[in-house]
């Protein structure tokens, strides 16, 4: 059973009968993010993507923590659970592990996932329950009005860091790969097509998928990802990872390529300086995570080059499936549990 589910993240989720549309996934609740917030674009992308999966709406659940992004479930006409700060991966783990017939999506922010909930996130990733975790990274605490977050750049001036923040940020992709994640991807709120293509692969992955979504908070951290959006800079720094394709980016005289570095890791070089067969061909399915990790480091320092797409997509048995198998195995070995046998087990004696 375990093997056959690989690549079929939703094989156990019942399918809808009729055709679905975006409208089916819109709840009647008024959306209350600030006008211009990147969350709107992500919501619309998800709502218009879900019909494609063709799952029964009642078997889809969105679980979130706390933060602006975590309001997301209220706007989805599916089952939803807006929980507490940082704990969504834990709550979703209990749900998905006990209900393999559900498609469970976790919505979380950079503070929610990486600060207060960091422990749950890393354990969810290594455990590999069938979850899709969408991490809305706006590199700021939105809901609490603009403190720096664990993804803010060093020196960030905010209300809580008037002289600049001191701590080095997490790179969520590096963190996830280090935490044994099987599926790790990055996308961006403004590129719907790319976002949806990543969601498609994430949903197909059986196990925990982590999708980092760069999301603009136009109130407290506006323009954090402008370099990836402005036509002047966009193409020169964005590395679009595509499985099976040589990693090249930029155009004309700025065209560049990624190749294995002699001392280990990878490096960016001018396209004109490398032979075709020296260029690294992206292999998302490579079991060893070190190349994917090396790719995740290319944005150092500060957005020098930013890979987006699927860094890693490697199948391994999902926790929920393994857990169900143990239950089945125990039942096959000794039969279904009988309460009276259990209670009367052990040394007993009768008093008349």
């Amino acid at each position: 059973m375990t093997e056959s589910l690989n690549g079929k993240g939703l094989a156990l989720v019942p399918r809808a009968e009729g055709k679905q549309t975006l409208k089916d996934f819109k709840s009647d609740q008024e959306v209350r993010w600030c006008p211009g917030c990147g969350d709107y674009a992500i919501l619309a992308a998800v709502q218009s993507f879900l019909p494609e999966l063709g799952l029964r709406r009642e078997n889809i659940v969105f679980v979130s923590g706390i933060g602006c992004s975590s309001r997301f479930p209220y706007y989805m006409n599916t089952y939803g659970f807006h929980s507490i700060h940082g704990r969504a991966p834990a709550i979703a783990t209990g749900l998905a592990a006990s209900r393999p017939d559900l498609s469970v999506w976790v919505i979380t922010g950079d503070g929610d996932a990486l600060s207060i909930g960091g422990n749950h996130l890393i354990h969810a990733l290594r455990r590999n329950v069938n979850l899709n975790i969408l991490l809305f990274n706006n590199r700021i605490y939105g809901l609490t009005k603009g403190q720096y977050s664990p993804t803010s750049e060093v020196g960030k001036i905010t209300k809580s860091t008037p002289m600049g923040s001191l701590d080095k940020p997490f790179n969520p992709i590096s963190l996830a790969i280090g935490a044994e994640a099987g599926f790790v991807a990055r996308t961006i709120d403004s590129d719907r097509k790319h976002l949806q293509s990543v969601l498609r692969e994430a949903a197909a992955h059986r196990g925990t998928s982590l999708v980092e979504i760069y999301q603009n908070c136009n109130i407290f951290n506006d323009g954090a990802f402008d370099a990836l959006k402005e036509p002047e800079t966009r193409d020169d720094i964005t590395i679009r990872l595509e499985h099976g394709q040589p990693i090249v980016f930029g155009a004309g005289e700025n065209e560049r390529a990624v190749r294995p570095a002699p001392q280990g890791g990878v490096e960016v070089v001018r396209r004109s300086e490398v032979a075709d067969d020296e260029i690294l061909v992206h292999d998302a399915h490579r079991p060893d995570p070190s190349l994917a990790f090396a790719l995740s480091r290319l944005d150092e320092p500060a957005f020098a080059h930013v890979p987006i797409g699927i860094f890693r997509s490697v199948d391994r048995p999902a926790y929920d499936v393994l857990m169900s198998e143990q239950l089945e195995q125990a039942t096959a070995d000794k039969g279904k549990g009988q309460l009276s046998d259990l209670l009367l087990g052990g040394d007993t004696w009768r008093i008349n």
């Binding site: 704990r87 709550i91 783990t93 592990a97 209900r99 559900l102 422990n119 143990q326 259990l342």
Partner: protein
């Protein structure tokens, strides 16, 4: 030499030795033999938190006390009649509890100069007159065992290790215990090492034979089986009973059990036990921490499982925010707190009743939670079913307050027929419940119980969102409306206040007592035993025991007010007393000791007598 046989009505034995001496196993086996024989019994294991404290030292002493009788008994006993001391440390640590005239069986082989020095004995107490007031039996347990095992294909170390079985054999002879089960047990335990199995059986039998032939034991004792209510019995510890209760709750509710837990003493054994029973459809999840444990249980409950989390006080502290989430989302959840001595890490293997106020109030906002507390080890079974019943019927987290004493103590349990167990099944909502016939109102309430509608993912047409943000009653939509919040705060409280708990029963045989002793949780046994003693001496005292701490039984105030004095012993500084005074304006008299140990019946009998006399 024919030996005298003396009849006794009850005996208290304490096995004490180094942590590595196998005293818990010895005690468990003696208990099993005693249960099989049909005595009533009660046990109290007492061990250090360290797995192996330095050998031969006082902190390394581990003991197991067993009280057994030909009549029904309520506690593991105050003071041992017999102490088995495997080394000087065990003697020194336990002598203070031993009344004059009690028997001491000491392993002379371990009373070496070095071992005596380790615990500060200047002279060997077995050889000077210092133990003259006790009946000392000096037995070279180690060397006798090694001698008995000469010719066995085992190392000297393994032979020495079997000394606990020699001691068990001797005690089994002394009290006429049946031996077949122990032999079978040893054969099964060491099935993969037949030589060790044979050696242990031989040591056990040698101990028995030693009793029969040696002159240092001239008398053996008979304790007739107890006359308990008819039925099938087994011996059970509180943690095992609690785990079985949760399994029974799963069967009787028809919901799969999901346990989210993080290991902690003294609760871990519930996780261990439940993880063995996967063929009941039980999912056990060892989480990364207590917060994830309860979070996963809440997530599973959202999906329609019986969500349970098990822990001790430090874990409850971590779970507080998530329990609040279950209060706000009105999802069923059972939170088991096996209380231990605090604050902070405190004394992990010692018992206390100090989490009552945390269970009651330890969350932000007005977040009332029902509390159930078992009274005895076997009562943990029924209390677990009751906690699940309340959780499911009222869609609320429930605190189940066990403690270290109940968890590890054991007693015979009349095994119930499955047909005697309550039906605690619930119905999920499967159809729209709005007036218009098409909408679903997740917070529409049952007018009688105030429980909200519970629809689980997978139910078509009832898609809805819940969360910790305040919600409008009925629709469940986010609401910051002041009046709605006030209404919801009161509704959540009214729901808990209205839970159907049975009335408080009072035991007052003559009906004219003026003093009531009230207790809750694990103090039941010592209080009831103390009450018996007082009554035997002609004292008049009534007894009542609270199993539901929130809500309290409806007649609690009336009961309290109908006595001149209410005495409330607690292993805390008066937590229930605080609640009762606030609620009923009754000036209960607290008796508090927080030593990490259960009360002794004699101690409480004295306290009760003092209260009766203090007019």
């Amino acid at each position: 030499m024919t030996k005298q046989v003396q009849q006794l009505d009850r005996v208290i034995i304490r096995f004490a030795g180094d942590s590595g001496d196998g005293m818990q196993l010895t005690g468990d086996r003696f208990t099993a033999e005693t249960a099989k024989f049909g005595n009533d019994l009660s046990t109290l294991p007492n061990f250090p938190a360290e797995i192996r404290a330095p050998a031969g030292t006082l902190p390394g002493v581990s003991s197991f006390q067993l009280h057994f009788a030909d009549h029904d008994i309520l506690t593991p006993g105050d003071a041992p009649n017999v102490l088995v001391a495997m080394n000087p440390a065990a003697l020194k640590a336990n002598l203070g509890d031993l009344p004059r005239g009690a028997d001491i069986i000491a392993n002379t082989d371990e009373f070496t100069k070095r071992n005596l020095q380790k615990v500060g004995y200047a002279a060997n107490p077995l050889e000077d007159d210092s133990l003259a007031e006790w009946r000392l039996h000096s037995v070279p347990l180690t060397s006798l065992t090694v001698k008995a095992l000469e010719g066995f294909e085992i190392s000297k170390k393994d032979a020495e290790r079997a000394k606990n079985m020699f001691a068990l054999g001797l005690l089994s002879w002394l009290y006429h215990r049946p031996t077949e089960a122990t032999i079978k047990f040893l054969e099964a335990k060491f099935a993969k090492k037949p030589d060790i199995a044979k050696a242990n059986v031989a040591a056990f039998q040698a101990g028995w034979n030693y009793g029969e032939t040696t002159e240092s034991f001239s008398v053996s004792y008979e304790i007739k089986p107890a006359t308990l209510a008819p039925g099938v019995y087994r011996n059970i510890s509180g943690n095992q009973a609690l785990a079985y209760g949760l399994i029974a709750a799963s069967v009787q509710s028809g919901l799969p059990l999901f346990l989210g837990s993080y290991p902690i003493t003294p609760a871990s054994d519930i996780l261990h036990e439940l993880s063995k029973h996967k063929r009941f459809g039980i999912r056990t999840f060892q989480a990364e921490d207590e917060i994830a444990g309860v979070g996963a249980a809440v997530g599973a409950a959202f999906g329609g499982a019986l969500g349970v989390t098990t822990t001790s006080g430090p874990g409850v502290a971590l779970k507080a925010e998530t329990v609040g989430l279950a209060v706000a989302t009105e999802l069923p959840l059972v939170v088991v707190d096996v209380q231990r001595a605090g604050p902070s890490t405190g004394m992990p293997t010692k018992t206390e009743q100090t989490d009552l106020l945390m269970a009651m109030f330890g969350r932000n906002g007005e977040s009332p939670v029902p509390i159930v507390a078992p009274a005895t080890p076997s009562d943990c079974f029924d209390a677990a079913i009751e906690a699940a019943r309340i959780a499911l019927k009222y869609r609320t987290p429930v605190m189940l307050l066990s403690d270290g004493y109940l968890a590890n103590g054991s007693e015979p349990w009349r095994v119930p027929e499955v047909s005697e167990l309550p039906d605690i099944s619930v119905e999920f909502t499967t159809e729209p419940n709005g007036e218009d016939g098409t909408t679903f109102l997740p917070f529409k309430r049952d007018p009688e119980t105030l429980a909200r509608a519970w629809a689980v993912p997978g139910t078509p047409g009832l898609e809805h969102r819940i969360g910790g943000i305040e919600k409008a009653d009925g629709t469940g939509n986010i609401s910051y409306d002041p009046n709605n919040h006030d209404r919801m705060v009161r509704l959540r409280q009214a729901k808990i206040d209205g839970i159907d708990v049975p009335p408080l029963e009072v035991d007052d045989p003559d009906g004219d007592a003026r003093v009531l002793v009230l207790g809750w949780g694990s103090t039941y046994g010592p209080i009831a035993a103390a009450v018996r003693r007082v009554r035997k001496e002609g004292g008049k005292v009534a007894q009542a025991h609270l199993r539901h701490l929130n809500p309290l039984p409806a007649n609690t105030g009336d009961v309290l007010r109908s006595y001149d004095k209410v005495l409330l012993p607690e292993i805390n500084l008066g937590q229930l007393a605080l609640l009762l005074r606030a609620r009923f304006l009754v000036d209960v008299i607290s008796y508090n000791r927080v030593r990490g140990l259960p009360f002794k019946a004699e101690e409480l009998a004295g306290v009760i007598q003092d209260v009766i006399n203090s007019d």
